[in-house]
Assembly symmetry: C2
Homo-oligomer: 221 residues x 2
């Protein structure tokens, strides 16, 4: 059987050592040695020890940006909901590695902070996209939408990382639907003309129509 | 006239030096010297150079937590909207210092990241409060609400920091009202009985009612 590529071997060695010795106590040399590779090889693949833990964020951010650029969804919000699925899919593809990173970021404040910052970068990208697309929406609206999409994604991702979600793809669809409903106006502003008010009653329609007419005719203008 | 207290003199000296020489090029000794104080005095007031820039976040977070603990608003969301005003008021009270920090965090990535992390801490506090208060709400709902409140606050704060908002207190009220409207359900689920659909038309009511009756009677069940 072929060995895994150097990049992956280094990542797995790093996570093993962080678990065994702690993050602060592990050096780049330790990682390279455990992976059976040299220090120079380490630095061909990663810029730093921290980088081993978050290797693909820049590339993933570019993919999200590309996806938004070529979006064909009906609304900018739907496009952002589609693009955020790329982020979730990336973590799911990482599998065990993503869960080990989560365990590590929960105990090392510096790593947890870096994770938070990387989430903020997606949210900023979404916000700028939404503000640029929706000439009729206010900047506040774009900000609220971007925050909601990021929150829905994080909610499902966190559940999956904790082993609480068996079907994160289905869960993220449901969560994003909830975001879209949140931002779908449920009523319109009044306009000129006759307004029929929506209501519900147990009366039959025959007895309803005269009452309706009476109510509308006697209502204050 | 009395000199400002040592803590404030150190902060102002630090910001002056960061502007003149850059953040990385300024040392703790430089700051103490500029403030006319000793290195030991610096470390009685701040733990590090970075700390001079973000001195009060822990205390402010405690205040927000206390405010939520003693909240008397009608809904948990209203309580969170009230508590986030403490954060805005803190920045407004800082005045010029807050704006100088914003200018600095825009150019020094490490400081910008720390700012993002501190915002995430408020959002987490809000999320946990909302999830704990609302037995009927899902965790996702709490997460969406917390993200929206933080986003509304950040939107107004950022505008004020950039000099785009003359009345941030009024703006934040309007932005938070928008958040509350977002999470106020606008319609109910269907129940048994006759349903009258809401619509609008330029036809007079007399010609409308027969059409309405016909449409409802011939609609598929």
């Amino acid at each position: 059987m072929d060995k895994p590529p150097a990049r992956e071997r280094l990542a797995r060695a790093a996570f093993d050592l962080f678990n065994e010795r702690g993050y602060e106590q592990t050096t780049v040399d330790d990682i390279a040695e455990r992976a059976g590779l040299g220090r120079a090889t380490f630095f061909r693949h990663y810029r730093s020890k921290e980088d081993v833990i978050f290797p693909d964020h820049d590339r993933l951010l570019d993919q999200v940006r590309d996806r938004l650029r070529s979006a064909s969804q009906d609304t900018p919000l739907a496009a952002v909901c589609d693009a955020v699925r790329l982020v979730l899919a990336h973590y799911l593809h990482e599998g065990d590695l993503a869960r080990r990173r989560y365990a590590l970021t929960s105990t090392v404040p510096a790593l947890r902070d870096r994770e938070i910052v990387s989430v903020a970068r997606y949210q900023k990208l979404f916000r700028e996209y939404l503000a640029g697309q929706q000439s009729d929406a206010t900047e506040l609206h774009a900000e609220l939408m971007a925050a909601a999409v990021a929150a829905a994604h994080n909610h499902v991702l966190r559940r999956w990382l904790r082993g609480e979600s068996a079907d994160p793809l289905r869960e993220v669809d449901a969560a994003l639907r909830q975001v879209i409903v949140l931002f779908t106006p449920q009523h319109r502003e009044p306009a000129d003309g006759t307004t029929v008010v929506a209501f519900r009653t147990s009366q039959p329609l025959d007895s309803l129509l005269p009452t309706l007419q009476h109510l509308i005719e006697t209502a204050p203008h």
